[in-house]
Symmetry: C2
Subunit: 772 residues, 2 copies
Amino acid sequence: MSCRFLRLAVAAGLLASTALSAQQPASDPVEAVDPFIGTSGQGHTFPGAVAPFGMVQLSPDTHVGPARETYDWASGYRHEDPVILGFSHTHFSGAGHSDLGDFLVMPVSGDTVPVKAGDADTPGFRSHKADETATPGYYAVTLTDPGVRAEMTAGTRVGVHRYAFPAGKAAHLLIDLRSIIYDYPGKILWSSVRIRPDGTITGSREVRGWASPRRIFFAMRFSAPVTGHKLISTEENILYKGFKGPGRGPETLDSLSGRALIAQFDFGALGKPLEVKVALSGVDEDGAIANLDSGPGDFDAIRARTRAAWAEALGRVTIDAPKPMRTNVYTALYHSLMAPSVWSDADGRWRGPDDQVHAGGRTTRYSTFSLWDTFRAEHPLLTLIQPEERNADFVNSLVASQKASPFGILPVWEFAGKETWTMIGYHAVPVIADACLKGIRGIDCAGALKAMVASADYAPYGGLSDYMSLGYVPIDRKPEAASKTVEYAYDDWTIARLARKLGETAIAARFEKRAQNWRNSFDPKSGFLRARKSDGSFRTPFDPTAINYGSDYTEGNAWQYSWFMPHDQGGLFRLLGGDAQAVAKLDAMFDYDNSKIDYSHAEDIAGLIGQYIHGNEPSHHVAYLYNYAGQPWRTQERLKQIVESQYKPTPDGLSGNDDLGQMSAWLVFTALGFYPVAPGSNEYVIGRPFVARAEMTLPNGQHFIVIADGLSDANRYVGGVTLNGKPLERSAITDAEIRAGGELRFTMQATPNMSWATKPGARPFSTTAYRP
Amino acid sequence: MSCRFLRLAVAAGLLASTALSAQQPASDPVEAVDPFIGTSGQGHTFPGAVAPFGMVQLSPDTHVGPARETYDWASGYRHEDPVILGFSHTHFSGAGHSDLGDFLVMPVSGDTVPVKAGDADTPGFRSHKADETATPGYYAVTLTDPGVRAEMTAGTRVGVHRYAFPAGKAAHLLIDLRSIIYDYPGKILWSSVRIRPDGTITGSREVRGWASPRRIFFAMRFSAPVTGHKLISTEENILYKGFKGPGRGPETLDSLSGRALIAQFDFGALGKPLEVKVALSGVDEDGAIANLDSGPGDFDAIRARTRAAWAEALGRVTIDAPKPMRTNVYTALYHSLMAPSVWSDADGRWRGPDDQVHAGGRTTRYSTFSLWDTFRAEHPLLTLIQPEERNADFVNSLVASQKASPFGILPVWEFAGKETWTMIGYHAVPVIADACLKGIRGIDCAGALKAMVASADYAPYGGLSDYMSLGYVPIDRKPEAASKTVEYAYDDWTIARLARKLGETAIAARFEKRAQNWRNSFDPKSGFLRARKSDGSFRTPFDPTAINYGSDYTEGNAWQYSWFMPHDQGGLFRLLGGDAQAVAKLDAMFDYDNSKIDYSHAEDIAGLIGQYIHGNEPSHHVAYLYNYAGQPWRTQERLKQIVESQYKPTPDGLSGNDDLGQMSAWLVFTALGFYPVAPGSNEYVIGRPFVARAEMTLPNGQHFIVIADGLSDANRYVGGVTLNGKPLERSAITDAEIRAGGELRFTMQATPNMSWATKPGARPFSTTAYRP
């Protein structure tokens, strides 16, 4: 655990009790969620209001500022911060890099309306907070400085604010178009705000940020008439003086554009709370207005509708477990149902990676694809607990993005329709393959395969040219070459899998060969994955504990990355010398004495158990690998170790960035007793359940029930397993077995069962042979 | 004549013979035009290829750079410049402020391809020029440095380049997205360039310029295959390092966006000239591609089609006159047929002042409305020589812009669909009124009247709030208050005129009253229009010769502005004391000894005759005012003085900015013998013809013929006039008389006829009484 993490965890822990003050009866999944989990420590989640997969994430921002200083404020918010700057409409849930925080709204009461947020030394519109509470789709806080109770809710494309101003005091609202998460000079290329004749406020901004240029539009309506307004440009040192007249005129005009705008709206003293309804659009202001109309009703109506949507979505997994675990798992489920986010307008239009607007017809386009994270467990989870139509829309959004891409490739890390080129791999590929191989309807899988191949063959990307000719990415030409090689190889395997299914034998054969490329970067002598140079030699000196940006590995080192061949763990274990050697190496990783190691220089490295780093994704499948060596009880032990140390029902309860649901999806699967080690395999590796009973309502209407008989802290081992009453003698279950519905019943016991699922034929598929 | 003007005129004169080397037989109107007229001196015209009212103005740029240094390069080009930087696709014709110069293309030959234009000290891609020639829709020059003959032509939404490279040398093409007219740091907010799979190049840029933000897109195709390319960002000191991967990767990638881009395309040695076909769009890249397809054919096909379009447009006025006058008038006619420019895409979509994209249906939307200039003679001319449909589209574009305006008002000075807030008044109003009062079909005049009233009543604009309450704009609250007061009053009169026609009597009465507001700023004691303060007093000290920015007047002084009540010259003359006093004051203006006056500090002040300033618009109607005093022979004398001193068939032949056709339209009308002193009156004031015969083909198919019997340098006076054979005893003719078709025959003589059209009833309408 890094120094950075420890420091913040301590700070956040002090506030944990406040965050959890709104606990509700255990019977309601919605009330079981604590949106504050992960809002401190390294979780990077936000506590605000969002509908499942909603375009709007309406949440408080407590700090925005220079990008270099704000890694800890990637969601705009930290629970321990005493002040709130306002409430903005877009936030990432758990990202390790950031942007967003669009269209910050803040109420002000009284006669003085500041145009700056202020800080410790200078007064401003920011306020101290009290009585903070949140449930899915609802957030409330008291802003003690203006004396305003602020409530937030959100629908799919709308957010609604409700502000109760102190009686008799003049009510004002600020929209700060300057405020943005991860700011730096010049980031906001342009912005605008306009009061339309019918009173609707519209506006936009264009950002040179993580994805460039990112365009976002809004439409806003108030429940009370505006009695006055100011549209203010605070930009100084404008070089060009060529525009004159009202464009640079009095602040009472109805429209203003520029690079640093803030809008003030006055309402006088109000007799009842002010509601502020806001819609977003990535297309244009007309789109935002239509989106506003697409979510009818007032605050309470939208809150009720969104609560029902959350009840439905969360209710697809019913869980019996004691409160801490139940809170953890339902909050994890909640966090897994936020991204990808709706990106197309209600009329189907969406802005693509080419920055052009595309017609979308009746389907919904999604963006915010953190694919390096989410291909692992997040997307596989969604294939089980979300309707096929939505999973198809995810995949179709990826393919539509490829068609509109100026590079002709699938998204790498996309949000707001735009490519960020973040992290490595082409992990849209396993997401698509997994969905197609599971038979999700509504996808043109043959067309998608073409998009997958185009991405895998795009030579200019990340050393792919060398990878295709040499069989690995050479470290003297591309950084993080070892990680790239193994991740490409896995992605290639999923292409081969889908191609086989579709009868595209030539494609299948070519990518089956590429899938073995992981071997070209593996050093059997040291037993580690290592970066090779273009001359074929491994780079020296070699330190398997070194973690640095631009090193041989991506946010990790040889300890974590040497396990990343999810499609060929059997091949790996044979290279390592066999089961015993593999288990010994796994143990060496988990039990590594890291007391002398400091990874605080590296963001995203948190949640260490030895050299196992649960706070980041490369480790996520590793605890399940003991099964491949025929030692499932060792997996069971490691899972208990991880679950208990890495997930807590507190603001600092996530050991690492939630990464758009991946950290959470890991817990949901693990709590249910199985995990998709190799998406695309249609196989889940069995661990051990952490809940007494769980029932999934599958997209086809079937129910799949997990029961853990005798589960207790002492009964931590799997004694035996039955599937639909028949003994299950292997430590894996197939997607078809789950989708058929039924009951997976574990008998838990206090001692390891060292005979269950130990034989080669009883292990997960890839231990026996490479099976394309 | 200012020092600035003299200096440049001398420099330009040296090159005049080259410019006119391509003279053709007198029978062809197209060949009678010399596009180089106005490209030196103060004309600010460009010599490149454009179709009538075309979206694309494909023309060479000889200098771009800091805005403060480039007033003389408002069109991007000066004829005397020895070098060419490249050929860009958008240019204003004669503007006094500037922007544009979008998507500069330059050929380079050989092995070295520079990414900078270069200058006297450093080499670059710019080239010296030779053998420059131009006719409407065609421009050619030899770029002596790369040894390339460059030709340009243009259709309505396309431009085509043709480059003949030297044999055996590698051919390259640069697209410099950094190059822009009137540049300054930060002006280009964003830009992009992309190579599509079919080889089409698309791109965009977004500019914080004269109108902000201005967005323009392009699509480009080559006649030869590209053998290599580089997309290069030359931006330095980028603050944000958050985006990685191909977005900042090798220059061989297929797409790049940023703030300072240049694209290089390689073709190898070519066996025949390279054609580069480009379309623009204000909507998006798809729009640009569709526009590219909307103008089919190769260079020669488009050149021929555009030549035919020019022959048709210019041929609507056939002129018999000696060559210098014929060249001057046909070139003036040519310059009057460039703006407004087509702005909507071929599919009807257009980007409005709200920066949003609007559907346009089957009509064409125009932009580039330099209305302070063009309401005077340019638009009235177009109502006579362009189809009603196009004139209706002009008006409907103005009204559509009002509907999309965030301020709810008609354009003031609009281009690229955006408001620039340049100059004063709401002169879309007289343009619309004039068209409606003349009965141009295809306009919803009742709807347009609402837009006109909304603009005239928009209190925040230019002191209108005070104007409406005080009856004048007070100088202590708004600069240029005297000019604003009289221009608003005239605009108001045109609203009243249309309202009367439509039976909107309440509106008519209100604006008839406002139309008299000019009197509130007129000082009968001094005989000058003067700025008043809000306390009612005239501002002192008062110097009728002072010209300064932000003074009491707009680009002028009391001498010019004291005549601006075109709707009530009779009222003015009575205030001045009668006809004799008015004539004496007119003479005092024209004969003013300005030898001791220096206006070189003021842009746009050029072409002085005493205190008459023909190079700027406020004076344009003034020579015709002698008619209102019953002394038409004095108008005839002044017109000769003006025509001979202010228009020459040379690059420095325009005494002032052509101002999107207004300087030219003045000459066309004046050469024909009449002029619209008060658009909205449906009356043209008769001057004297400068051509032996002219025949207009009117929109209704009728022909209106002007004959000047006996015209010669000596026969400079009108002896008598007949209309359709009957004596015309008044110095005005109505629009209805012209549209009916017929023959206006002048008998020219060497001595003034001091009895023709002298009686009150024979003078233009407003001398007798104020007639709403």
